[in-house]
């Protein structure tokens, strides 16, 4: 594929416009400022990427402030308060507002192109996620303007972050802004799951999927399960700060370690959530430059899947020094070492891919080699840190700072910069500079090692992290001086890259079609972005269609053979597939540009800001407005029952009402997130109950009779929503669902009234658990009411079964959650447990 003969060379030149005016008009991006209403994955993905890059530069600037403060001992460049704000915001921005969103941006942009879809499967949700991310990020950053920047560390340990030790709004800015921005991550995760499983080109079975899609699929599942613990933790902490409920207060049976458990249940998988997409980029770019497929695609898939699981079993290695029993330490120590196995498998897959061919040393390849070099060191120090005695010395010292930057910069930033060089033709139609790229690489590589390698020594010489200053003469002076100088070199490398990125948009050489000789489908079109994908979606027969199906590149891209050529009736459509086999299953109708996602996100932003300002009436009003936005969002009819002639694949139904339909898979994904949220709450209850036995009897017990009644009503709810799903849309079937949801909530509320949430942490957590179930029931009630109104207005035809099907699954889950809550509430009545 490197030595393509002249006859195989791709046909050059841009897409001919006006080839299919109806198709191109249907997919046109709105001009001017109305582009803000665009929901196209290309627009949304690029927004994510650019915004993430801006946050990266801000966070990097903060890092330079940190390094400058530490350049000499006893420095007074920043005072302690500012320093604490700076390092807190550095970590926060890098982890929450740069790393995850920018990788999701790449996924949002690349996945449909790689998978052979015309857009991401829920375009409005992608746009909504972006606005949540942007508004959340702005809220967090705006704290600087109010002189209330968070200063409790990105980990926000209680009790330091409670209102007693951090009065004022700084911690609230963090909790509210970050939780808001996390909505983006979670929605994007659900969307990626559905997109990878449901919109692939005909013939693209799971074994033929580009490896990047596998990495993103696993990552998306990890986000769906990994982020909820932190969301729950943040909600608990915010409630404690605002309403004084004692979740983390030891005098009422709360526990500061509960926060640490919840935080690291998120925080450790987070590291892999950041690493995996970047490794997926490596696995995508590497074969291109070697000219051979990835060695051990199956190895990599197995490794990524097992890694996704095992990474959830290591969270407590961030808590080795908290006094856990030795046996728990050993458990987490052993589990932590095990994650090195799937990591090692991937690394060797990459290395042996090199051995399959003659690699070309391009700039992206250079960054991949840098990734290998740095990440292997970071992985080895990570294994060292899994050893408990060593961890006791290295924990919270500069050794850990060194380790985590080796893992995150080596494992994520280097592949990311390589990815920018690799995929930039997609964004601009031009190539970035090989020469500047080499400068950027060598400056970053050298600067990185000077900065962070020495920190291993600084840490072992006893320097703790997060210190605004240090006395001279303890052996840290010169190491810090060198680290700071190194950080300037690293920053210079980043600036060269940014300069090249800005510069090449105007003056870079025009990119040819498939400029690197890659095999994946995103290079089918010449990289002057046409704003729409796939005039016709080609059938794929292998993982590298552009290598194995040379006919795809032999003529102009818009002439390529495929299904669904052109548009029907000016609608945006793409092919929905069977999740496993990739065979066409349905036609997915996609929405046109709309302002609703922006409005919906804006209402949440207003609610968040109003909460910060303690204007709870406005916050409530904004949440009502949010419900209106969501109702508008879902108002239009579901179009099930229509059919489309796809050409080669025959006639396919639109939006099938089936378990394998894309909305149902997304419903399952959403339920996964909700189950993880609920599971985090149950974990909190059990943890507090197990750790503070003295406090579990003080709070009253729930009323057993009413709890049992609520449980019975939950069964009615399950039955009625399932019946409605089975029988299809009828107005009369919505009424019992609505009533049973409301009645269940009322029963649960009455049962809870005997428990005073201010008494103990367990009682408070039980109330939050009941509140969560209440929100689920509210959603069921609102959903039923909404469906009923739609039916009254004739928006739902008899064959439009999709909404009822999805509500049926949601209702089942809600009912099960109520039943679990009832069991938890009734259990203390059993002799001996309380």
């Amino acid at each position: 594929m490197t030595d393509t003969s002249a006859s195989d060379r791709p046909v050059q030149g841009p897409v001919l416009h006006d080839e299919m005016p109806e198709f191109e008009a249907a997919w046109a991006t709105p001009p001017g400022w109305r582009i803000l209403s665009s929901v196209s994955h290309r627009v949304v993905g690029q927004r994510f990427i650019v915004t993430g890059l801006v946050f990266f530069l801000i966070a990097g600037f903060l890092a330079l402030l940190v390094r400058t403060q530490l350049i000499v001992p006893n420095n007074t460049f920043l005072d302690a308060e500012t320093y604490n704000q700076v390092f807190t915001m550095h970590g926060t921005l890098m982890m929450f507002l740069f790393a995850i969103p920018i990788l999701e941006g790449f996924a949002v942009y690349l996945l449909p192109l790689m998978l052979g879809a015309r857009d991401l499967i829920f375009p409005r949700m992608g746009a909504f996620g972006y606005w949540c991310y942007l508004f959340g990020g702005i809220i967090v950053l705006s704290s600087f303007l109010f002189d209330a920047a968070p200063d409790g560390g990105w980990f926000m340990y209680t009790p330091l972050s409670t209102s007693q030790y951090t009065p004022g709004l700084s911690a609230d800015f963090w909790l509210i802004g970050i939780t808001f921005a996390e909505i983006a991550s979670v929605t994007a995760a659900v969307e990626i799951i559905a997109a990878v499983l449901c919109t692939r080109a005909p013939g693209m079975s799971l074994t033929r999927m580009p490896i990047f899609a596998w990495y993103m699929l696993v990552t998306a599942f990890m986000i769906a399960i990994g982020f909820p613990p932190l969301i729950i933790g943040s909600i608990l902490l915010e409630i404690e700060r605002v309403a004084g409920l004692p979740f983390f207060d030891v005098t009422a049976g709360g526990d500061p370690l509960l926060w640490q458990h919840l935080f690291w249940l998120f925080g450790h998988p987070e590291v892999y959530i950041i690493f995996l997409p970047a490794a997926g980029m490596v696995a995508t770019m590497l074969p291109t430059f070697v000219g051979k497929p990835l060695f051990g695609y199956g190895f990599a898939v197995a490794a990524v899947v097992t890694m996704g699981f095992i990474s959830f079993g290591l969270w407590a290695h961030h808590m080795f020094a908290t006094g856990l029993p030795t046996i728990s330490l050993t458990l987490f120590s052993a589990a932590s070492t095990m994650v090195a196995i799937p990591t090692g498998v991937q690394i060797f897959s990459f290395i042996f891919t090199l051995a399959q061919g003659r690699p070309r040393l391009t700039v992206p390849m250079l960054f991949i080699l840098g990734f290998l070099f740095i990440f292997v060191i970071g992985g080895l120090t990570g294994v060292m840190l899994a050893s408990v005695p060593f961890n006791w010395q290295a924990h919270d010292s500069y050794f850990v700072v060194a380790h985590l930057h080796y893992v995150l910069i080596g494992g994520m930033v280097f592949p990311l910069v390589g990815a920018f060089y690799y995929w930039s033709p997609h964004f601009t139609g031009r190539m970035m500079s090989e020469r500047l790229g080499r400068w950027a690489f060598w400056l970053m590589f050298t600067g990185f090692h000077i900065t962070f390698f020495l920190m291993h020594l600084t840490g072992l010489r006893g320097m703790p992290r997060r210190v605004a200053t240090y006395p001279e003469g303890l052996g840290w002076d010169r190491l810090n001086l060198l680290s700071t100088l190194g950080s300037y070199i690293l920053a210079a490398g980043v600036l060269v890259f940014v300069w090249d990125f800005l510069r090449h948009r105007m003056s870079g050489p025009l990119a040819p079609r498939d400029p690197w000789g890659a095999g994946t489908l995103e290079w089918l079109y010449p990289p002057i972005a046409p704003g729409h994908n796939f005039h016709a979606i080609p059938r794929v027969h292998s993982r590298e269609p552009l290598w194995d199906q040379p006919e795809l590149l032999r003529e102009h891209a818009h002439l390529a053979e495929g299904v669904l050529r052109g548009a029907s009736h000016g609608m945006r459509e793409t092919v929905g597939c069977h999740p496993v086999t990739g065979e066409p299953l349905q036609i997915v109708r996609l929405p046109k540009p709309t302002w609703v996602p922006l409005w919906a996100a804006a209402t949440i932003a207003v609610a968040a800001v109003a909460t910060l300002a303690s204007a709870y009436v406005i916050a409530g009003a904004a949440l009502v407005a949010m419900l209106v936005c969501f109702a508008l969002w879902a108002w239009e009819p579901s179009q099930t029952g229509e059919t489309v002639d796809t050409g080669p694949e025959g006639v396919l139904p639109v939006n099938v009402a089936d378990r394998l339909g894309h909305t149902h898979i997304a419903t399952i994904g959403t339920l996964l997130v909700l189950a993880a949220l609920y599971g985090s709450l149950l974990f909190s209850v059990l943890y507090l109950w197990n750790v503070h036995p003295d406090f579990t009897t003080i709070a009253g017990l729930a009323d057993p009779l009413w709890a049992a009644v609520a449980g019975g009503l939950a069964l009615v709810l399950i039955a009625s929503s399932k019946v409605a799903a089975h029988k299809g849309p009828r107005l009369g079937l919505d009424v019992p669902v609505l009533l049973s949801a409301v009645a269940t909530g009322a029963g649960l509320f009455v049962a809870m009234l005997q428990i005073d949430p201010r008494d103990t942490a367990v009682a408070a957590t039980l109330w939050v658990m009941a509140g969560f179930v209440g929100v689920m029931l509210f959603v069921m009630a609102f959903w039923s009411l909404f469906l009923a109104v739609r039916k009254l207005f004739g928006q739902v035809a008899p064959h439009h079964r999709v909404p009822d099907l999805n509500r049926g699954s949601f209702g089942l889950a809600t009912g099960v959650m109520v039943l679990i809550a009832v069991v938890v509430l009734l259990a203390p009545h059993i002799e001996g447990l309380s």
Binding site: R360, L361, T362, M365, E434, L457, R478, L479, L482
Partner: protein, 175 residues
């Protein structure tokens, strides 16, 4: 274009040379950063170079160092005082707890006045004229001259007081 094979790189010998050089540089830098402060060949070299540079500039300014006595400097001279020992002594006596003193580690106290540009002051604490001997005696026992001062007598030795005074009188210019 992207085909990296055509890019010129170092020759084999050059690559080896660069590698060895980089390794040697890394090793020496790490060794330096780990050495104790008293064992500082690099620092010594830097200060030798600095001193040489100073001599060179003064020679260039037509003011040979050794020839003419520097009267303004002589005025400040205290018996056996070494101004470069001043900052150390000040750290030991805790002067920085109350004063901002340029060049003294951690000295950013705001209890007393900043001592930046001290040599330009006319009076010490508004009581004694700012002369080397006065300053030395003031440092040894401030309450002797100003019974209501908050500055305590810190059992400063004669020699330390001389060093500190010499250092303070080297602080010129606006703060």
């Amino acid at each position: 274009m992207p085909d990296g094979a055509e890019h010129r790189t170092f020759g084999k010998a050059g690559l080896g040379l660069v590698t060895v050089g980089a390794l040697a540089a890394t090793a020496s830098v790490v060794a330096w950063s780990l050495a104790s402060p008293s064992n500082d060949p690099v620092g010594a070299m830097v200060s030798r170079v600095g001193a040489g540079w100073e001599r060179l500039t003064q020679w260039y300014a037509g003011n040979p160092v050794a020839d003419r006595p520097n009267w303004s400097a002589m005025q400040v001279k205290l018996l056996d005082a070494q101004s470069d020992r001043g900052p150390d002594a000040m750290v030991r006596y805790g002067c920085g707890a109350c004063h901002v003193i340029p060049g003294v580690a951690g000295a950013r106290g705001t209890v007393g006045p900043s001592l930046a540009g001290f040599a330009d002051r006319a009076y010490i604490a508004g009581i004694l004229t700012n002369a080397p001997g006065n300053l030395q005696r003031w440092l040894i026992d401030p309450p002797l001259f100003a019974p209501d001062t908050a500055m305590p007598d810190m059992s400063v030795t004669e020699a330390d007081a001389a060093d500190m005074a010499a250092y303070l009188l080297s602080l010129t210019g606006a703060p």
